[in-house]
């Protein structure tokens, strides 16, 4: 019994070590209650978020190159069409080379939800949920919820204006927020685990018209208040995606739940 416990613990250390090498640093986001811009049920906005760890930066080209080096099935040209469209890792020079034009420390983009999920799973982590992402992004450098500050909104809106498929700056340039997390309001669009939950929040299940049922939550995007606009743009973008889609400005970061 004693030996098996020791062996098991040894095995566990190896597993954890492998995970630690692959992953970016994580910062703890304490749990809390906040109002999401999207209702979780008709007229219900309050969301309880449990404490979680979020990567302080998005996954970089260099990080992702390391992943595909050890996981050939996720290389460009090898990944099945089910899991990524034909623009997968489009910015890279080749399946295993970034090319001189690309900053290795810039966020990796052109990754599908499947690929992002596989990367995080390999790092002993997962993708954040939308509510986790939104909750963490509500903070500025000093406040947990800075969303009513016009400066907070303006930063996000300014960032949207910079997008357009051009070269991306390295991660971590943006000042860290209260939790030590970078680039949530400027950087790249980021996948979340439940991207395909974002449009079905309304409750039209009682309605008989199939056309209205197919997008149960389309009405949820009617704006709750103008201040939510900056965040709703992100939701609109994510909800337009299919899991295999990739774009030049869409990356991801990993999250994990604290050990119980």
């Amino acid at each position: 019994m004693r030996w098996s416990a020791v062996l098991a613990a040894g095995g566990l250390v190896v597993v954890c070590f492998a995970a630690a090498v692959a992953a970016e640093p994580f910062a703890r986001v304490p749990g809390g209650r906040f109002d999401s811009v999207l209702p979780v049920a008709p007229k219900v906005y309050a969301v309880e978020v449990a404490a979680f760890d979020l990567a302080t930066t998005a996954v970089t080209n260099q990080d992702f190159l390391g992943f595909v080096t050890t996981h050939p099935e996720w290389r460009r040209g090898a990944v099945p069409r089910l899991f990524a469209d034909d623009r997968y890792l489009e910015r890279w020079q080749g399946p295993l080379s970034l090319g001189a034009a690309l900053d290795p420390e810039a966020p990796v983009t052109g990754v599908s939800w499947f690929a992002a999920r596989a990367y995080c799973a390999n790092a002993g982590a997962r993708l954040p949920t939308w509510h986790e992402w939104e909750y963490a992004a509500a903070a500025d450098a000093t406040r947990a919820d800075a969303r009513s500050d016009p400066a907070w909104r303006q930063r996000m809106l300014d960032w949207y204006a910079t997008l357009g498929g051009g070269p991306l700056p390295p991660v971590g340039r943006d000042v860290a927020n209260l939790y030590g997390i970078h680039d949530l309001s400027a950087g790249v669009w980021e996948w979340v685990e439940d991207f395909n939950a974002l449009l079905v929040v309304g409750d039209n299940r009682e309605q008989g018209d199939p056309d209205r049922m197919k997008f149960c939550g389309a009405g949820a995007l009617s704006m709750r208040d103008r201040e939510a606009y900056a965040v709703l743009m992100r939701i609109a973008m994510l909800s337009s995606l299919e899991a295999r889609y990739t774009t030049r400005d869409l990356g991801f970061r990993c999250a994990r739940s604290p050990a119980p």
């Binding site: 098996s4 416990a5 098991a8 613990a9 095995g11 566990l12 597993v15 995970a19 979780v40 049920a41 219900v44 996981h71 099935e73 990944v79 099945p80 069409r81 089910l82 899991f83 939800w113 499947f114 999920r117 596989a118 799973a121 390999n122 002993g124 685990e193 439940d194 395909n196 939950a197 974002l198 449009l199 079905v200 929040v201 309304g202 409750d203 039209n204 299940r205 009682e206 199939p210 056309d211 049922m213 197919k214 997008f215 149960c216 939550g217 909800s239 299919e242 899991a243």
Partner: protein
């Protein structure tokens, strides 16, 4: 002993990320998900590989839409000649990870679906998200534990490739019916 279990769980996550290669590269059957059917038996997503299959998602305690969805597929079946109907397979994956075999079996019995050709299955929350993503199904669990979801019927060919999808499940367009007849012919 707990440590051993945890170690295994972590390794399983690492291995589970690798897509399989035995199916065409656009086949849904490449997904590695663990399903449990209405008899409590473990099944893979490709359990009906080799036969044209209609796939959809539902949940056991769904009050209105899911029963309509099941009836719609039964209507589609009814319209087929006996021989073709015998070839058709149906796989419904539940949004609700707490749907156990008992609840799934209740749905099978209530609707009188042919358990030899129909599988109602549940999976972990993680695997449900994966299946929905591959099928383009959108869903969210509401605070009262019910689910809000899009309703899509997907026709797969024998190798798990999507032949056709319809969101007009109560009255699928002629193209969907034609594709189904053709696949079963």
């Amino acid at each position: 002993m707990k440590l051993i279990a945890l170690g295994f769980a972590l390794s399983a996550t690492l291995v589970g990320a690798a897509p399989a290669t035995t199916y065409p590269d656009d086949s849904i059957y490449q997904l590695q998900v663990a399903l449990t059917d209405q008899q409590g038996k473990a099944q893979a997503l490709d359990r009906y590989a080799g036969q044209p299959t209609i796939v959809s998602m539902f949940y056991g305690s769904c009050p209105h839409i899911c029963p309509m969805l099941i009836s719609s597929v039964q209507q589609l079946e009814k319209a087929l000649p006996t021989k073709e109907r015998g070839r058709m397979r149906v796989l419904f994956v539940s949004f609700d990870p707490t749907d156990d075999a008992k609840r799934l079996a209740e749905v099978v019995a209530k609707h009188g679906v042919d358990g030899k050709r129909w599988t109602l299955a549940s999976a972990s929350a993680d695997d449900v998200r994966l299946v929905a993503a591959a099928l383009g199904v959108r869903y969210v669990q509401l605070p009262d534990k019910s689910f809000s979801h899009s309703t899509i019927l997907t026709l797969l060919d024998a190798k798990g490739r999507i032949v056709r999808r319809t969101e007009s499940f109560t009255d699928p367009e002629p193209e969907f019916r034609d594709a189904l007849s053709q696949a079963l012919h």
